[in-house]
């Protein structure tokens, strides 16, 4: 049974261990129709498109983790429509592990009430499987960023996903091209990434459909019971690749992004129209990146992407500017 989730901060390990398939919902390729009855056109198209999928496909339930306001209101809409919905209150201010362990305990109870079974052994097994998938994706992306795979593995069973990534690692060949950092929220369309590679760039990313899905720092202890497994999970998600919907101590996200940009020729902000958390950070980040001597470009997206040629012109022009 599929449980739909929307954000890379969702503890998919618990959904999996309970016997469900965690299925990441992205914006649809179809025109948005059903969703328009519940959500206005000036909300971002990722959320509008995701609602369209949530309403047209079969899901046993939906899990949210606190992130942007628009996504949070999607919780309300699905609840209003009588769907099985749970919102995990992921702390906006990163730091309080005890609080989040408490939240995860509640989430386990919810999964049980939805017909799932939670045990220490199964949680440990899921933790190991997802870690294997994440580490393999990291390895693959070190050779060659493959967004078709990064997107696909978020919608299939983790064991099958591991095999798929292993196969890709065998085939992957490193290409010596100038690096470009692509940052933003999500872009579930592989053809957009292809525009960058065809223009002659190797992509490094800071996206939920890329690195943010698999980049974690794992806690330094072995869980010995369910409670410590939940603590492991809380700490793991507190130290994942950061997102602008969270508050980190100091300028953690900015520093992280500037570090990623160091070996890149240019930085492209691939932002979904009306994505407030990313747009609020954009002016300051651009300033800092330009101070570093990086070329910065902003490309606005709206899903489903209607005209890729305009994006191609910008990306190719950026390549020509860099030389």
């Amino acid at each position: 049974m599929r449980i739909g989730y929307f954000c890379t901060f969702t503890p998919k390990e618990l959904i999996h261990s309970a016997g469900f398939l965690p299925f990441r919902i992205f914006a649809t390729r179809k025109p948005i129709s059903l969703a328009s009855a519940y959500i206005q056109s000036y909300a971002c198209s990722q959320v509008r498109g995701a609602l369209e999928v949530a309403l047209s496909d079969e899901f046993h339930g939906f899990v949210f983790t606190r992130s942007c306001d628009t996504l949070m209101r999607l919780t309300d809409i699905l609840e209003f429509l009588g769907k099985r919905v749970y919102n995990i209150e992921f702390p906006t201010k990163i730091g309080n592990v005890d609080y989040y362990v408490y939240e995860l305990r509640d989430f386990c109870k919810t999964l049980e009430s939805w017909g799932g079974e939670i045990s220490f052994e199964r949680v440990i097994e899921s933790l190991a499987l997802y870690r294997e998938l994440e580490e393999k994706l990291k390895k693959l992306f070190e050779v060659r960023a493959d967004y078709e795979i990064a997107i696909k593995v978020q919608q299939i069973d983790v064991s099958g996903a591991i095999k798929l990534v292993e196969k890709k690692i065998e085939e992957a060949k490193k290409e010596e091209k100038p690096k470009i950092l692509v940052t933003g929220s999500v872009c579930p369309y592989p053809e957009i990434y292809e525009i960058f590679t065809k223009a002659g760039f190797a992509i490094k990313d800071d996206l939920c459909t890329g690195r943010r899905f698999f980049e974690f720092n794992y806690p330094n202890f072995e869980p010995h019971d369910l409670d410590s497994a939940l603590r492991f999970l809380a700490e793991k998600y507190f130290s994942k690749a950061p997102c602008p919907t969270k508050h980190y101590p100091n300028d953690y996200r900015f520093d992280y992004l500037l570090r990623l940009a160091e070996d890149c020729e240019a930085v492209v902000f691939l932002l979904v129209k009306f994505c407030e958390p990313h747009f609020f950070d954009f002016p300051q980040l651009r300033e800092k990146l330009e101070e570093m001597g990086k070329k910065v470009a902003l490309i606005e997206l709206e899903f489903p992407v209607a005209s890729t040629e305009q994006i191609r012109t910008r990306v190719e022009a950026l390549k020509e500017v860099i030389g």
């Binding site: 305009q310 012109t313 910008r314 190719e316 020509e320 500017v321 030389g323």
Partner: protein, 257 residues
């Protein structure tokens, strides 16, 4: 050596033949649904005007939205680079290129003939040639007439709508309320200039400013942009072929940029 630049835009196709830094001939045609055919035709017609055989052209570069569909081109370069190169070829002192095409508009900051930075508007038809087309249609005027009509106006009507579709309704309502046509047209030119200047401010405007693209032929728009920027704007003799010219210049250098 003879080189050629072919610019397949959203509405028009342009071809320029260049020989030893001199323009031999150029041609502007309408784009047909079959881009490959359009490109071949505009190229052949330009060859005919210059009385040059195909074999004499040593290098062909393509640009514009249809650049990758020009099969016989040696290389495709974006219109952003080509407009910067073309404008620098005609007016070497250029630092800012404002290109207003049929479907998009862009502002390019140029240094020594190279692109430093650029912004593009390709999302909204307000601020492009399409805006003028829709308005000319609503006023039953020819597109080419708008500029000279605007120049006759003593004052301007303010078009408040930022959207082409709503602006068209606004224009029709001004007609119904008996406003003078030249004042409405001046208002239309002012509206497009406002969008362009807002975009140009993001890149930073440095003199000399060169206006390119089909809309540059409209004196009303040129005047409105000059008023808003507070500086004179230069327009090449044939602003529509600047992209194709840039492609021809790059083709003559036989290197990318």
């Amino acid at each position: 050596m003879i080189s050629a630049g072919i610019d397949i835009g959203s509405l028009t196709a342009k071809c320029v033949l260049l020989s030893d830094s001199k323009i031999l001939a150029y041609k502007v045609t309408r784009v047909k649904p079959k881009i490959e055919e359009t490109a071949r035709e505009v190229f052949e017609e330009t060859l005919k005007i210059a009385n040059v055989r195909r074999e004499e052209v040593l290098s062909v570069f393509s640009t514009g939205y249809g650049r990758s569909r020009v099969e016989f081109a040696d290389k495709a370069i974006t219109e952003i680079t080509c407009h910067a190169v073309g404008a620098s070829f005609l007016i070497p002192s250029v630092r800012t290129v404002i290109d207003i095409g049929g479907q998009d508009s862009k502002v390019i900051s140029v240094e020594n003939g190279r692109v430093v930075e650029f912004v593009m508007n390709d999302k909204c038809s307000a601020g492009t040639g399409r805006f003028l087309e829709v308005m000319a249609n609503a006023l039953h005027l020819k597109l080419e007439e708008l500029g000279s009509i605007a120049m006759k106006a003593e004052k301007k009507i303010t078009i408040s709508s930022t959207c082409t579709v709503f602006a068209e309704s606004e224009v029709i309502s001004y007609l119904s309320s008996g406003e003078k046509i030249e004042e409405i047209v001046a208002g239309i030119c002012d509206a497009i200039a406002s969008r362009i200047v807002a975009m140009a401010t993001r890149v930073g405007v440095r003199e000399d400013v060169v206006l390119t693209g089909g809309v540059a032929k409209n004196l009303g728009v040129k005047k409105a942009i000059e008023e808003k920027l507070g500086i004179p704007v230069k327009v090449p003799e044939e602003p529509q072929i600047v992209g194709a010219l840039g492609a021809a210049v790059l083709a003559s250098r036989k290197k990318n940029i």
